[in-house]
């Protein structure tokens, strides 16, 4: 009854609006006509309820709504615009939700359990990956019996291929969540003495490649795959970190994998869809986009192109997780320049994934695992450089100039400030004094200094590394069942949409003993 009344009122409103629009003075404005076009586009949307053959999950680590906004403005301003109206590829996707990112025991999340929640369907404990809430951080024995089943394992049983890409180390939290189960995210190349319930993360990757679950893995982190006694003189003199005498790169090759470590060997990969691929392009993390050269190592978009070319050779489809791993690291450094330049590189990977796939059979999800303590100042005029000073709003717009005034806004201390700031981190204006106390004042600043690639935006709380924050992140989606992203959802819901898209209502994977059993709904 109530619903009928509501619909009737909406109809009345629409009809009134239609009449009113005929004589509205603003109807010739582009703002008006663009919004009218958008209405038509949204009304024409039809949910795609076909089974998804492929699922691509793109995660920019630490790229919450604020960081994504900064990248949007930076990309738009690089093209000569004001930035605000620029549209990143994921921002053109039809469906959107906000994800709550907290971990079971942490208001402020870390990247291990957040990625784990997307890959298993349940929230997890701080600093752990793909173990249930019965396991205990850094307690190896507690892993036994508490391992969760991953989406990669589930779709592998369906005959799909699985790939994982990152610009961080392959053994780092977000990529590890595709294939590993660990009581501690830092056990990248070793576990504590006497630990038998799990292997280290690098060993788990090679095991999953041998088991046929992971078909393609590319990122950084070469050193975690070889023993400390080994130096790879051909490969940038990488010194190993392992303590078990193993060379997992050789093991993977002996098991039939193709191996790449730089641009040249990357370009030589067969990408035949059958031969497993292991790409390890740096000792540790791959380079920030601002520091990378094409001659040295591939971009995230390059790796995305190669991965989709490889995985799409499987007629049964694939699951591919792609991480832009270093937006997070730049934010930790308090260096917004590298956060937005890596954000733009992530956007290029999104565009590549979208371009190479068909919306009819491929679910693409673009999200972040968490946000940072990044924040924005006001009131900046349009076109204020996103990495630079916040300029005054230009109010003399009579001749159509909407760009900011020439004068920067000043704080009460009579000094300018940047658009972006951080609540904590190395950019703190409070410096350690000789008596170990902290005090200070905001340094004076020019726009040129602020836009420098090494500049750290001013921060408040002094810390050696800027922190994550618990605020929501966006989920952008297109393809089969992407319309299930709506409203504010728990982060682990992402898995459930992927599972619905691939397996349908029957939840085939759950019947295989999958992680679905651990969801709160079915546990009750």
């Amino acid at each position: 009854m109530l619903k009928t009344l509501l619909l009737a009122s909406v109809a009345a409103l629409v009809s009134t609006a239609a009449i009113a629009q005929e004589s509205l003075p603003q109807e010739s404005s582009q703002w008006f006509t663009d919004a009218q076009a958008k209405i038509k586009e949204v009304m024409a949307r039809q949910p795609n309820t076909k089974r998804a053959k492929n699922v691509i999950l793109l995660i920019a680590d630490g790229n919450g709504v604020t960081t994504n906004y900064a990248t949007r403005l930076w990309m738009g301003q690089q093209e000569g615009g004001m930035g605000d109206d620029f549209v990143q590829p994921q921002e053109a996707f039809p469906y959107l939700a906000l994800a709550k990112t907290y971990n079971i025991n942490a208001q402020t999340p870390d990247s291990a359990p957040t990625a784990g929640s997307m890959n298993t369907g349940v929230k997890q404990l701080f600093n752990t990956i793909n173990v249930s809430d019965k396991a205990v951080f850094e307690d190896c024995a507690s892993v036994k019996g508490n391992e969760l089943e991953t989406f990669a394992e589930m779709v592998s049983k369906d005959g799909k291929s699985v790939g994982v890409l990152t610009t961080a180390r392959l053994t780092h939290a977000t990529p590890a969540a595709v294939y590993a189960k660990t009581a501690a995210r830092d056990w990248e190349d070793a576990v504590p003495e006497g630990c038998t319930a799990q292997k280290d993360i690098a060993a788990q990757l090679v095991d999953q490649m041998k088991a046929g679950v992971i078909d393609l893995a590319m990122g950084g982190g070469r050193r975690h795959f070889i023993d400390k006694s080994i130096t790879l003189s051909e490969e940038e003199n990488t010194k190993g970190k392992r303590t078990d005498g193993k060379n997992l790169i050789d093991e993977a090759k002996a098991a039939g994998a193709e191996y790449a470590w730089n641009t040249e060997t990357f370009k030589n990969l067969k990408l035949d869809g059958k031969t497993p691929v292991l790409g390890l392009f740096e000792d540790s993390h791959m380079k920030y986009e601002a520091d990378r050269t094409d001659e040295d190592e591939p971009s995230l978009a390059d790796m995305t192109k190669a991965a989709i070319e490889y995985l799409s050779k499987n007629d049964k489809g694939y699951y591919l997780e792609i991480e832009g791993g270093r937006v997070d690291h730049a934010n930790h450094d308090g260096n917004a320049y590298r956060a937005v330049t890596d954000g733009a590189a992530f956007s290029a990977a999104v565009a590549m994934a979208d371009e190479m796939t068909d919306d009819e059979d491929t679910l693409i999800i673009v999200t972040a695992d968490h946000e940072h303590s990044i924040a924005l100042n006001g009131y900046c005029g349009r076109g204020s450089p996103i990495l630079g000073l916040c300029y005054e709003v230009n109010t003399a717009t009579g001749e159509g100039n909407m760009k900011h005034a020439d004068t920067p806004n000043l704080g009460a201390d009579n000094k300018p400030y940047t658009v972006i700031g951080y609540l904590n981190g190395a950019g703190s204006v409070l410096k350690e004094q000789s008596d170990k106390s902290y005090s200070g004042s905001r340094p004076d600043l020019t726009d040129e200094e602020a836009q420098d690639k090494e500049y750290l935006q001013q921060a408040l709380v002094p810390m050696s590394s800027e922190t994550h924050s618990g605020v929501d992140v966006a989920i952008y989606a297109k393809g089969p069942w992407s319309h299930l992203f709506d409203g504010t959802v728990e982060q682990n819901y992402i898995f459930h949409v992927m599972n619905q898209a691939v397996h349908g209502d029957g939840m085939d994977a759950a019947e295989n003993g999958g992680a679905m059993e651990a969801t709160p709904a079915s546990a009750n």
Binding site: H329, A426, G427, E448
Partner: protein
Amino acid sequence: MQRRQFLAAAGAALLLPAGARAEDGPVRMRDLYNKDLSFSDYAKAMEGRRIAVQGFMAPPLKAESTFFVLTKRPMAVCPFCESEAEWPDDILAVYASRVIDTVPFNVKIVTSGTLELGTYEDPDLGFVSRVRLSNAVYERS
């Protein structure tokens, strides 16, 4: 635009006679390296001469030492990025003329010293560097 302006400025500066830049103020660490981490033309031109470089003092490895590492950005130690402290690959090793007084890691300093290029392993610390400033002095920027 900003980047183009910077590159143009850097290119123009390189045309000046070696040494002229010191009068313009300290150089940045990126002026010593190309993007592929090879030494820049400026670095090669200034080898063996005194230059002033802007940067940050990483937390010293050893007390009562003349040695410290200059980084281009404050040496943030991020437990979520790294399981242990790691050096960036574009640092500058500094051998000061006196025992150093530590400067907090996020306070900008200008270090002046004689530029040395080439791989060198410190016999006491085992620290391997590719580029160094020797007989160096430093001050807060």
